[in-house]
Symmetry: C2
Subunit: 283 residues, 2 copies
Amino acid sequence: MSPPTTKPIHFFDITSTLPSPRQSWSPNTLRTRLILNYKSIPYTQSFISYPDIKPLLTSLHIPALNDGFLPYTLPAIIHHHHQPSDADSSSKADTTAINDSLPIALYLDHAFPTPQHPSIFPHGPTSISLAIAVQHLISACISRSRALIMPRVWNILDPRGQVYFRESRERGLFGGRRLEDVRPEEGGEEEEAMWMALSGEMEVFVKMLKGDGEGVREGVFFEGGKPGYADFLLVGFLAWFERCDRRMWERMMGLGDGGLRRLWEACEGWVDGMGEDAGWEIS
Amino acid sequence: MSPPTTKPIHFFDITSTLPSPRQSWSPNTLRTRLILNYKSIPYTQSFISYPDIKPLLTSLHIPALNDGFLPYTLPAIIHHHHQPSDADSSSKADTTAINDSLPIALYLDHAFPTPQHPSIFPHGPTSISLAIAVQHLISACISRSRALIMPRVWNILDPRGQVYFRESRERGLFGGRRLEDVRPEEGGEEEEAMWMALSGEMEVFVKMLKGDGEGVREGVFFEGGKPGYADFLLVGFLAWFERCDRRMWERMMGLGDGGLRRLWEACEGWVDGMGEDAGWEIS
Protein backbone atom coordinates (compact mmCIF):
# COMPACT_ATOMS: atom_id res chain seq x y z
CA MET A 1 0.00 0.00 0.00
CA SER A 2 1.53 3.26 -1.08
CA PRO A 3 1.47 6.18 1.34
CA PRO A 4 -1.12 8.91 0.81
CA THR A 5 -0.03 11.52 -1.69
CA THR A 6 -1.47 14.98 -2.04
CA LYS A 7 -1.19 17.78 -4.52
CA PRO A 8 -0.69 21.19 -2.94
CA ILE A 9 -3.71 23.07 -1.68
CA HIS A 10 -4.84 25.69 -4.15
CA PHE A 11 -5.90 28.97 -2.56
CA PHE A 12 -8.07 31.66 -4.18
CA ASP A 13 -7.47 35.18 -2.96
CA ILE A 14 -8.91 38.55 -4.06
CA THR A 15 -6.49 40.54 -6.17
CA SER A 16 -5.26 44.09 -5.72
CA THR A 17 -2.71 46.36 -7.37
CA LEU A 18 -0.41 46.30 -4.32
CA PRO A 19 2.94 44.65 -5.02
CA SER A 20 3.61 41.23 -3.51
CA PRO A 21 3.65 40.28 -0.64
CA ARG A 22 1.04 42.96 0.14
CA GLN A 23 -1.16 42.06 -2.83
CA SER A 24 -3.31 40.06 -0.39
CA TRP A 25 -5.46 42.55 1.53
CA SER A 26 -8.89 41.12 2.40
CA PRO A 27 -9.53 40.51 6.12
CA ASN A 28 -11.36 37.32 5.14
CA THR A 29 -8.87 35.77 2.73
CA LEU A 30 -5.90 36.71 4.91
CA ARG A 31 -7.29 34.38 7.60
CA THR A 32 -6.72 31.44 5.26
CA ARG A 33 -3.32 32.72 4.13
CA LEU A 34 -2.20 32.97 7.74
CA ILE A 35 -3.23 29.37 8.36
CA LEU A 36 -1.44 28.04 5.27
CA ASN A 37 1.74 29.89 6.17
CA TYR A 38 1.64 29.13 9.90
CA LYS A 39 0.97 25.43 9.35
CA SER A 40 3.61 25.27 6.57
CA ILE A 41 1.12 23.73 4.17
CA PRO A 42 2.47 23.76 0.60
CA TYR A 43 0.10 25.78 -1.58
CA THR A 44 -0.41 27.38 -4.90
CA GLN A 45 -2.49 30.53 -5.25
CA SER A 46 -4.52 32.54 -7.75
CA PHE A 47 -5.53 36.14 -7.32
CA ILE A 48 -9.08 36.66 -8.59
CA SER A 49 -10.80 39.89 -9.60
CA TYR A 50 -14.13 40.63 -7.88
CA PRO A 51 -16.39 40.06 -10.91
CA ASP A 52 -14.81 36.63 -11.44
CA ILE A 53 -15.61 35.28 -7.97
CA LYS A 54 -19.13 34.09 -8.72
CA PRO A 55 -18.22 32.35 -12.03
CA LEU A 56 -15.21 30.76 -10.32
CA LEU A 57 -17.22 29.35 -7.41
CA THR A 58 -19.98 28.20 -9.73
CA SER A 59 -17.44 26.33 -11.86
CA LEU A 60 -16.14 24.66 -8.68
CA HIS A 61 -19.70 23.68 -7.67
CA ILE A 62 -19.39 25.70 -4.48
CA PRO A 63 -22.93 26.80 -3.59
CA ALA A 64 -23.92 30.31 -2.54
CA LEU A 65 -23.14 30.94 1.14
CA ASN A 66 -26.37 32.78 1.81
CA ASP A 67 -29.14 34.59 0.04
CA GLY A 68 -27.89 37.98 1.21
CA PHE A 69 -26.01 40.79 -0.42
CA LEU A 70 -22.76 38.81 -0.93
CA PRO A 71 -23.59 35.16 -1.58
CA TYR A 72 -20.32 34.29 -3.36
CA THR A 73 -17.18 34.96 -1.35
CA LEU A 74 -13.51 34.22 -1.09
CA PRO A 75 -11.42 32.72 0.44
CA ALA A 76 -11.89 29.37 -1.24
CA ILE A 77 -9.57 26.39 -1.48
CA ILE A 78 -9.31 23.26 -3.58
CA HIS A 79 -7.69 20.15 -2.19
CA HIS A 80 -6.99 17.18 -4.51
CA HIS A 81 -6.08 14.28 -2.31
CA HIS A 82 -5.32 10.69 -3.19
CA GLN A 83 -5.74 8.29 -0.34
CA PRO A 84 -5.13 4.57 -0.41
CA SER A 85 -8.43 2.81 0.07
CA ASP A 86 -8.59 0.35 2.96
CA ALA A 87 -10.84 -2.03 1.03
CA ASP A 88 -8.90 -2.85 -2.10
CA SER A 89 -5.51 -1.17 -1.84
CA SER A 90 -6.36 0.90 -4.87
CA SER A 91 -6.09 4.62 -4.50
CA LYS A 92 -9.10 6.86 -4.24
CA ALA A 93 -9.07 10.41 -5.59
CA ASP A 94 -11.07 13.08 -3.81
CA THR A 95 -11.42 16.73 -4.47
CA THR A 96 -12.62 19.10 -1.80
CA ALA A 97 -13.60 22.62 -2.83
CA ILE A 98 -14.90 24.91 -0.08
CA ASN A 99 -15.20 28.55 0.79
CA ASP A 100 -15.96 30.56 3.95
CA SER A 101 -13.09 31.13 6.31
CA LEU A 102 -14.18 29.09 9.36
CA PRO A 103 -15.07 25.89 7.47
CA ILE A 104 -11.74 26.23 5.63
CA ALA A 105 -9.91 26.62 8.94
CA LEU A 106 -11.56 23.52 10.40
CA TYR A 107 -10.89 21.58 7.22
CA LEU A 108 -7.22 22.52 7.00
CA ASP A 109 -6.61 21.79 10.67
CA HIS A 110 -8.11 18.34 10.21
CA ALA A 111 -6.42 17.57 6.88
CA PHE A 112 -2.97 18.71 8.02
CA PRO A 113 -2.75 17.43 11.58
CA THR A 114 -0.12 17.55 14.30
CA PRO A 115 2.67 16.69 14.88
CA GLN A 116 3.74 17.57 11.31
CA HIS A 117 1.63 20.72 11.23
CA PRO A 118 0.92 22.78 14.36
CA SER A 119 -2.76 23.04 15.21
CA ILE A 120 -4.57 26.36 14.85
CA PHE A 121 -6.99 25.13 17.53
CA PRO A 122 -4.36 24.12 20.08
CA HIS A 123 -6.88 23.76 22.92
CA GLY A 124 -9.51 21.84 21.00
CA PRO A 125 -13.14 22.90 21.57
CA THR A 126 -12.03 25.83 23.75
CA SER A 127 -10.05 27.23 20.82
CA ILE A 128 -12.97 26.70 18.46
CA SER A 129 -15.39 28.46 20.85
CA LEU A 130 -12.89 31.27 21.21
CA ALA A 131 -12.52 31.58 17.42
CA ILE A 132 -16.29 31.75 16.88
CA ALA A 133 -16.59 34.43 19.57
CA VAL A 134 -13.71 36.44 18.10
CA GLN A 135 -15.15 36.13 14.60
CA HIS A 136 -18.39 37.63 15.91
CA LEU A 137 -16.50 40.46 17.62
CA ILE A 138 -14.44 41.11 14.46
CA SER A 139 -17.63 41.28 12.39
CA ALA A 140 -18.77 44.12 14.64
CA CYS A 141 -15.43 45.87 14.05
CA ILE A 142 -15.73 45.37 10.30
CA SER A 143 -19.19 46.95 10.39
CA ARG A 144 -17.82 49.90 12.34
CA SER A 145 -14.99 50.26 9.79
CA ARG A 146 -17.07 50.36 6.63
CA ALA A 147 -17.33 54.07 6.03
CA LEU A 148 -13.71 54.55 7.05
CA ILE A 149 -12.08 51.87 4.98
CA MET A 150 -14.29 50.84 2.03
CA PRO A 151 -13.45 53.98 0.01
CA ARG A 152 -9.76 53.21 0.60
CA VAL A 153 -10.20 49.60 -0.47
CA TRP A 154 -11.37 50.88 -3.85
CA ASN A 155 -8.01 52.65 -4.30
CA ILE A 156 -6.04 49.41 -4.27
CA LEU A 157 -8.27 47.26 -6.51
CA ASP A 158 -7.63 46.28 -10.14
CA PRO A 159 -9.75 48.26 -12.65
CA ARG A 160 -12.38 45.51 -13.15
CA GLY A 161 -12.54 44.99 -9.40
CA GLN A 162 -13.01 48.74 -8.88
CA VAL A 163 -16.05 48.86 -11.15
CA TYR A 164 -17.63 45.86 -9.44
CA PHE A 165 -16.76 46.95 -5.91
CA ARG A 166 -18.07 50.49 -6.38
CA GLU A 167 -21.32 49.35 -7.90
CA SER A 168 -22.04 46.60 -5.37
CA ARG A 169 -20.96 48.48 -2.24
CA GLU A 170 -22.55 51.81 -3.09
CA ARG A 171 -25.81 50.02 -3.73
CA GLY A 172 -25.61 47.29 -1.08
CA LEU A 173 -23.99 49.10 1.84
CA PHE A 174 -24.30 52.83 1.42
CA GLY A 175 -27.77 53.38 0.04
CA GLY A 176 -26.49 54.64 -3.30
CA ARG A 177 -24.01 57.20 -1.88
CA ARG A 178 -20.72 57.46 -3.74
CA LEU A 179 -17.71 55.93 -1.96
CA GLU A 180 -16.07 59.37 -2.09
CA ASP A 181 -18.96 60.85 -0.13
CA VAL A 182 -19.01 58.11 2.50
CA ARG A 183 -15.50 58.57 3.90
CA PRO A 184 -15.40 61.45 6.40
CA GLU A 185 -12.67 64.06 6.10
CA GLU A 186 -9.30 63.06 7.56
CA GLY A 187 -8.82 64.51 11.02
CA GLY A 188 -12.36 65.87 11.14
CA GLU A 189 -14.95 65.39 13.87
CA GLU A 190 -16.92 62.79 11.95
CA GLU A 191 -13.84 60.65 11.40
CA GLU A 192 -12.98 60.98 15.07
CA ALA A 193 -16.46 59.81 16.10
CA MET A 194 -16.13 56.77 13.83
CA TRP A 195 -12.69 56.01 15.21
CA MET A 196 -13.98 56.24 18.77
CA ALA A 197 -16.79 53.79 17.98
CA LEU A 198 -14.36 51.40 16.29
CA SER A 199 -11.68 51.60 18.95
CA GLY A 200 -14.40 51.08 21.58
CA GLU A 201 -15.31 47.79 19.90
CA MET A 202 -11.63 46.83 19.78
CA GLU A 203 -11.19 47.40 23.51
CA VAL A 204 -12.21 43.80 24.17
CA PHE A 205 -9.19 42.51 22.22
CA VAL A 206 -6.88 44.73 24.24
CA LYS A 207 -8.34 43.22 27.42
CA MET A 208 -8.09 39.68 26.10
CA LEU A 209 -4.45 40.08 25.12
CA LYS A 210 -3.74 41.55 28.53
CA GLY A 211 -5.42 38.49 29.99
CA ASP A 212 -6.16 38.85 33.63
CA GLY A 213 -6.56 42.57 33.95
CA GLU A 214 -3.25 42.73 35.78
CA GLY A 215 -1.11 42.76 32.66
CA VAL A 216 0.64 39.61 33.81
CA ARG A 217 0.47 36.80 31.28
CA GLU A 218 2.75 34.68 29.21
CA GLY A 219 2.80 34.97 25.44
CA VAL A 220 1.51 37.53 23.00
CA PHE A 221 -1.39 35.45 21.62
CA PHE A 222 -5.01 35.03 22.74
CA GLU A 223 -4.07 31.50 23.81
CA GLY A 224 -0.85 32.51 25.54
CA GLY A 225 2.38 31.33 23.95
CA LYS A 226 0.84 29.54 20.95
CA PRO A 227 -0.92 31.22 18.06
CA GLY A 228 -4.35 30.02 17.06
CA TYR A 229 -7.05 30.80 14.55
CA ALA A 230 -8.55 33.45 16.86
CA ASP A 231 -5.32 35.45 16.49
CA PHE A 232 -5.45 35.14 12.72
CA LEU A 233 -8.98 36.60 12.68
CA LEU A 234 -7.75 39.71 14.45
CA VAL A 235 -4.50 39.94 12.48
CA GLY A 236 -6.40 39.66 9.16
CA PHE A 237 -8.52 42.58 10.30
CA LEU A 238 -5.46 44.62 11.26
CA ALA A 239 -3.79 43.81 7.93
CA TRP A 240 -6.84 45.14 6.07
CA PHE A 241 -6.06 48.56 7.58
CA GLU A 242 -2.33 48.17 7.09
CA ARG A 243 -2.92 47.63 3.36
CA CYS A 244 -5.69 50.17 2.80
CA ASP A 245 -5.31 52.91 5.39
CA ARG A 246 -1.91 52.96 6.98
CA ARG A 247 -2.66 56.06 9.07
CA MET A 248 -5.62 54.39 10.79
CA TRP A 249 -3.57 51.21 11.20
CA GLU A 250 -0.89 53.15 13.07
CA ARG A 251 -3.59 54.43 15.41
CA MET A 252 -4.78 50.88 15.98
CA MET A 253 -1.29 49.73 16.82
CA GLY A 254 -1.21 52.32 19.58
CA LEU A 255 -4.34 51.05 21.35
CA GLY A 256 -3.98 49.68 24.86
CA ASP A 257 -0.59 48.77 26.22
CA GLY A 258 1.00 47.54 23.00
CA GLY A 259 -0.60 44.09 22.95
CA LEU A 260 -1.98 44.57 19.44
CA ARG A 261 1.44 45.60 18.14
CA ARG A 262 3.11 42.62 19.80
CA LEU A 263 0.53 40.30 18.25
CA TRP A 264 1.03 41.90 14.83
CA GLU A 265 4.80 41.59 15.00
CA ALA A 266 4.57 37.94 16.01
CA CYS A 267 2.25 37.16 13.06
CA GLU A 268 3.72 39.43 10.38
CA GLY A 269 5.73 36.66 8.73
CA TRP A 270 2.56 34.60 8.22
CA VAL A 271 0.68 37.62 6.85
CA ASP A 272 3.28 38.12 4.15
CA GLY A 273 3.95 34.50 3.16
CA MET A 274 3.04 33.64 -0.40
CA GLY A 275 2.23 30.40 -2.21
CA GLU A 276 3.43 29.63 -5.69
CA ASP A 277 1.41 31.65 -8.22
CA ALA A 278 -0.61 29.46 -10.52
CA GLY A 279 -2.94 30.71 -13.22
CA TRP A 280 -6.56 29.64 -13.12
CA GLU A 281 -8.83 29.61 -16.09
CA ILE A 282 -12.44 30.07 -15.12
CA SER A 283 -14.55 27.69 -17.15
CA MET B 1 4.63 24.73 60.94
CA SER B 2 0.87 24.33 60.99
CA PRO B 3 -0.99 23.94 57.72
CA PRO B 4 -2.74 26.98 56.27
CA THR B 5 -6.21 27.47 57.65
CA THR B 6 -8.97 29.48 56.07
CA LYS B 7 -12.36 30.74 57.13
CA PRO B 8 -15.08 30.24 54.53
CA ILE B 9 -15.42 32.75 51.74
CA HIS B 10 -18.19 35.23 52.44
CA PHE B 11 -20.29 36.09 49.40
CA PHE B 12 -22.51 39.18 49.02
CA ASP B 13 -25.49 38.75 46.71
CA ILE B 14 -28.38 41.08 45.83
CA THR B 15 -31.59 40.13 47.58
CA SER B 16 -35.02 39.44 46.13
CA THR B 17 -38.37 38.23 47.41
CA LEU B 18 -38.11 34.92 45.53
CA PRO B 19 -37.90 31.90 47.85
CA SER B 20 -34.57 30.09 48.17
CA PRO B 21 -32.84 28.72 46.12
CA ARG B 22 -34.17 31.20 43.52
CA GLN B 23 -33.60 34.23 45.75
CA SER B 24 -30.37 34.82 43.80
CA TRP B 25 -31.31 36.39 40.48
CA SER B 26 -28.67 38.87 39.25
CA PRO B 27 -26.77 37.79 36.11
CA ASN B 28 -23.64 39.29 37.68
CA THR B 29 -23.78 37.77 41.17
CA LEU B 30 -24.89 34.38 39.83
CA ARG B 31 -21.52 34.12 38.06
CA THR B 32 -19.80 34.05 41.43
CA ARG B 33 -22.37 31.70 42.94
CA LEU B 34 -21.83 29.27 40.08
CA ILE B 35 -18.07 29.32 40.71
CA LEU B 36 -18.42 28.74 44.46
CA ASN B 37 -20.81 25.84 43.91
CA TYR B 38 -18.92 24.27 41.01
CA LYS B 39 -15.56 24.45 42.78
CA SER B 40 -17.13 23.21 46.05
CA ILE B 41 -15.70 26.16 47.96
CA PRO B 42 -17.27 26.40 51.43
CA TYR B 43 -19.01 29.77 51.73
CA THR B 44 -21.34 31.87 53.77
CA GLN B 45 -23.59 34.41 52.12
CA SER B 46 -25.53 37.59 52.82
CA PHE B 47 -28.32 38.96 50.67
CA ILE B 48 -28.05 42.75 50.42
CA SER B 49 -30.71 45.25 49.44
CA TYR B 50 -29.78 47.66 46.62
CA PRO B 51 -29.51 50.84 48.75
CA ASP B 52 -27.10 49.04 51.10
CA ILE B 53 -24.55 48.10 48.42
CA LYS B 54 -22.61 51.37 48.47
CA PRO B 55 -22.37 51.60 52.30
CA LEU B 56 -21.36 47.93 52.41
CA LEU B 57 -18.55 48.28 49.87
CA THR B 58 -17.37 51.51 51.47
CA SER B 59 -17.17 49.77 54.85
CA LEU B 60 -15.09 47.04 53.21
CA HIS B 61 -12.77 49.63 51.63
CA ILE B 62 -13.69 48.40 48.16
CA PRO B 63 -13.28 51.40 45.84
CA ALA B 64 -15.79 52.47 43.18
CA LEU B 65 -15.45 50.36 40.03
CA ASN B 66 -15.86 53.30 37.69
CA ASP B 67 -17.18 56.84 37.62
CA GLY B 68 -20.23 55.83 35.62
CA PHE B 69 -23.85 55.29 36.46
CA LEU B 70 -23.27 52.24 38.70
CA PRO B 71 -19.94 52.63 40.51
CA TYR B 72 -20.75 50.25 43.41
CA THR B 73 -21.71 46.75 42.39
CA LEU B 74 -22.13 43.22 43.62
CA PRO B 75 -20.95 40.45 43.56
CA ALA B 76 -18.33 40.99 46.24
CA ILE B 77 -16.48 38.49 48.38
CA ILE B 78 -14.40 38.58 51.54
CA HIS B 79 -11.71 36.01 52.13
CA HIS B 80 -9.98 35.82 55.54
CA HIS B 81 -6.96 33.62 55.13
CA HIS B 82 -4.29 32.69 57.62
CA GLN B 83 -1.10 31.49 56.09
CA PRO B 84 2.02 30.35 57.90
CA SER B 85 4.81 32.82 57.20
CA ASP B 86 7.95 31.29 55.69
CA ALA B 87 10.21 33.62 57.65
CA ASP B 88 9.30 33.02 61.27
CA SER B 89 6.78 30.18 61.37
CA SER B 90 4.24 32.58 62.83
CA SER B 91 0.97 32.88 61.05
CA LYS B 92 -0.01 35.89 58.98
CA ALA B 93 -3.62 36.98 58.62
CA ASP B 94 -4.78 38.50 55.36
CA THR B 95 -8.16 39.70 54.30
CA THR B 96 -9.07 40.08 50.68
CA ALA B 97 -12.24 41.99 49.81
CA ILE B 98 -13.03 42.43 46.12
CA ASN B 99 -15.93 42.98 43.80
CA ASP B 100 -16.49 42.73 40.02
CA SER B 101 -17.18 39.29 38.65
CA LEU B 102 -14.06 38.65 36.53
CA PRO B 103 -11.49 39.68 39.19
CA ILE B 104 -13.43 37.50 41.66
CA ALA B 105 -13.32 34.58 39.23
CA LEU B 106 -9.56 34.92 38.74
CA TYR B 107 -9.03 35.28 42.48
CA LEU B 108 -11.10 32.23 43.41
CA ASP B 109 -9.50 30.06 40.77
CA HIS B 110 -6.07 31.01 42.09
CA ALA B 111 -6.94 30.73 45.80
CA PHE B 112 -8.70 27.36 45.43
CA PRO B 113 -6.51 25.49 42.96
CA THR B 114 -6.60 22.04 41.41
CA PRO B 115 -6.52 19.15 42.13
CA GLN B 116 -8.75 19.81 45.17
CA HIS B 117 -10.95 22.27 43.29
CA PRO B 118 -11.61 21.97 39.55
CA SER B 119 -10.42 24.98 37.57
CA ILE B 120 -12.92 27.32 35.95
CA PHE B 121 -10.22 28.18 33.40
CA PRO B 122 -9.34 24.61 32.44
CA HIS B 123 -7.35 25.65 29.37
CA GLY B 124 -5.39 28.46 30.97
CA PRO B 125 -5.01 31.66 28.92
CA THR B 126 -7.31 30.28 26.20
CA SER B 127 -10.11 29.94 28.76
CA ILE B 128 -9.44 33.44 30.09
CA SER B 129 -9.51 34.94 26.58
CA LEU B 130 -12.72 33.04 25.89
CA ALA B 131 -14.28 34.32 29.13
CA ILE B 132 -13.42 37.95 28.35
CA ALA B 133 -14.88 37.58 24.85
CA VAL B 134 -18.05 35.94 26.19
CA GLN B 135 -18.41 38.60 28.88
CA HIS B 136 -18.32 41.24 26.12
CA LEU B 137 -20.92 39.35 24.09
CA ILE B 138 -23.13 38.90 27.17
CA SER B 139 -22.93 42.64 27.88
CA ALA B 140 -24.41 43.23 24.44
CA CYS B 141 -27.22 40.77 25.27
CA ILE B 142 -27.86 42.49 28.60
CA SER B 143 -28.14 45.84 26.81
CA ARG B 144 -30.62 44.33 24.36
CA SER B 145 -32.62 42.90 27.27
CA ARG B 146 -33.03 46.05 29.30
CA ALA B 147 -36.45 47.18 28.21
CA LEU B 148 -37.72 43.61 28.26
CA ILE B 149 -36.50 42.53 31.64
CA MET B 150 -35.79 45.53 33.89
CA PRO B 151 -39.50 46.15 34.60
CA ARG B 152 -39.80 42.48 35.57
CA VAL B 153 -36.75 42.69 37.83
CA TRP B 154 -38.58 45.34 39.85
CA ASN B 155 -41.37 42.83 40.55
CA ILE B 156 -39.09 40.48 42.46
CA LEU B 157 -37.15 43.01 44.58
CA ASP B 158 -37.60 43.75 48.28
CA PRO B 159 -39.50 47.01 48.98
CA ARG B 160 -36.35 49.08 49.71
CA GLY B 161 -34.66 47.63 46.64
CA GLN B 162 -37.71 48.48 44.52
CA VAL B 163 -37.58 52.15 45.47
CA TYR B 164 -33.85 52.35 44.74
CA PHE B 165 -34.01 50.33 41.53
CA ARG B 166 -36.91 52.30 40.07
CA GLU B 167 -35.33 55.64 40.84
CA SER B 168 -31.84 54.77 39.57
CA ARG B 169 -32.88 52.84 36.44
CA GLU B 170 -35.64 55.19 35.32
CA ARG B 171 -33.20 58.07 35.59
CA GLY B 172 -29.98 56.34 34.49
CA LEU B 173 -31.21 54.00 31.74
CA PHE B 174 -34.59 55.09 30.49
CA GLY B 175 -34.42 58.88 30.36
CA GLY B 176 -36.98 59.30 33.11
CA ARG B 177 -39.61 56.96 31.61
CA ARG B 178 -41.47 54.82 34.13
CA LEU B 179 -40.50 51.13 34.18
CA GLU B 180 -44.15 50.31 33.40
CA ASP B 181 -43.95 52.35 30.21
CA VAL B 182 -40.65 50.84 29.06
CA ARG B 183 -41.74 47.21 28.77
CA PRO B 184 -43.57 46.61 25.48
CA GLU B 185 -46.86 44.74 25.52
CA GLU B 186 -46.60 40.95 25.71
CA GLY B 187 -46.96 39.36 22.32
CA GLY B 188 -47.00 42.71 20.52
CA GLU B 189 -44.89 43.84 17.59
CA GLU B 190 -42.54 45.94 19.68
CA GLU B 191 -41.76 43.03 21.99
CA GLU B 192 -41.18 40.81 18.97
CA ALA B 193 -38.71 43.30 17.49
CA MET B 194 -36.81 43.40 20.78
CA TRP B 195 -36.79 39.62 20.98
CA MET B 196 -35.47 39.36 17.42
CA ALA B 197 -32.62 41.77 18.23
CA LEU B 198 -31.80 39.87 21.42
CA SER B 199 -31.99 36.41 19.88
CA GLY B 200 -29.84 37.68 17.00
CA GLU B 201 -27.13 38.61 19.50
CA MET B 202 -27.49 35.19 21.15
CA GLU B 203 -26.97 33.38 17.85
CA VAL B 204 -23.22 33.41 18.44
CA PHE B 205 -23.63 31.26 21.58
CA VAL B 206 -25.72 28.76 19.67
CA LYS B 207 -22.91 28.50 17.10
CA MET B 208 -20.24 28.21 19.76
CA LEU B 209 -22.05 25.42 21.58
CA LYS B 210 -22.52 23.64 18.26
CA GLY B 211 -18.80 24.01 17.77
CA ASP B 212 -17.72 23.25 14.28
CA GLY B 213 -20.79 24.11 12.30
CA GLU B 214 -21.42 20.42 11.73
CA GLY B 215 -23.12 19.80 15.03
CA VAL B 216 -20.54 17.19 15.93
CA ARG B 217 -18.75 17.91 19.17
CA GLU B 218 -18.20 16.38 22.52
CA GLY B 219 -19.65 17.92 25.64
CA VAL B 220 -22.30 20.50 26.29
CA PHE B 221 -19.96 23.30 27.42
CA PHE B 222 -18.09 26.00 25.51
CA GLU B 223 -14.90 24.12 26.32
CA GLY B 224 -16.26 20.69 25.41
CA GLY B 225 -16.71 18.26 28.27
CA LYS B 226 -15.57 20.56 31.09
CA PRO B 227 -17.44 23.59 32.34
CA GLY B 228 -15.58 26.87 32.60
CA TYR B 229 -16.21 30.45 33.62
CA ALA B 230 -17.40 31.31 30.08
CA ASP B 231 -20.32 28.92 30.59
CA PHE B 232 -21.18 30.53 33.90
CA LEU B 233 -21.39 33.95 32.24
CA LEU B 234 -24.01 32.66 29.84
CA VAL B 235 -25.87 30.61 32.44
CA GLY B 236 -26.03 33.61 34.81
CA PHE B 237 -27.64 35.56 31.98
CA LEU B 238 -30.12 32.77 31.28
CA ALA B 239 -30.97 32.50 34.99
CA TRP B 240 -31.76 36.23 35.09
CA PHE B 241 -34.61 35.51 32.64
CA GLU B 242 -35.59 32.29 34.39
CA ARG B 243 -36.08 34.25 37.63
CA CYS B 244 -37.66 37.41 36.20
CA ASP B 245 -39.43 36.48 32.97
CA ARG B 246 -40.07 32.80 32.65
CA ARG B 247 -41.94 33.17 29.35
CA MET B 248 -38.97 34.82 27.64
CA TRP B 249 -36.66 32.25 29.24
CA GLU B 250 -38.65 29.43 27.66
CA ARG B 251 -38.21 31.12 24.29
CA MET B 252 -34.47 31.33 24.88
CA MET B 253 -34.28 27.67 25.74
CA GLY B 254 -35.76 26.91 22.33
CA LEU B 255 -33.08 28.77 20.36
CA GLY B 256 -30.87 26.78 18.02
CA ASP B 257 -30.69 23.02 18.28
CA GLY B 258 -31.11 22.68 22.04
CA GLY B 259 -27.53 23.57 22.99
CA LEU B 260 -28.63 26.31 25.38
CA ARG B 261 -31.04 23.95 27.14
CA ARG B 262 -28.38 21.26 27.46
CA LEU B 263 -25.97 23.82 28.93
CA TRP B 264 -28.63 25.04 31.36
CA GLU B 265 -29.48 21.54 32.51
CA ALA B 266 -25.82 20.69 33.07
CA CYS B 267 -25.32 23.83 35.20
CA GLU B 268 -28.66 24.01 37.03
CA GLY B 269 -27.33 22.41 40.20
CA TRP B 270 -24.64 25.09 40.49
CA VAL B 271 -27.19 27.86 39.84
CA ASP B 272 -29.30 26.71 42.77
CA GLY B 273 -26.56 25.91 45.29
CA MET B 274 -26.62 28.02 48.43
CA GLY B 275 -24.02 28.93 51.03
CA GLU B 276 -24.79 29.15 54.72
CA ASP B 277 -26.75 32.31 55.42
CA ALA B 278 -24.88 34.71 57.67
CA GLY B 279 -26.11 38.11 58.75
CA TRP B 280 -23.96 41.12 57.99
CA GLU B 281 -24.15 44.37 59.84
CA ILE B 282 -23.12 47.28 57.68
CA SER B 283 -20.96 49.60 59.71
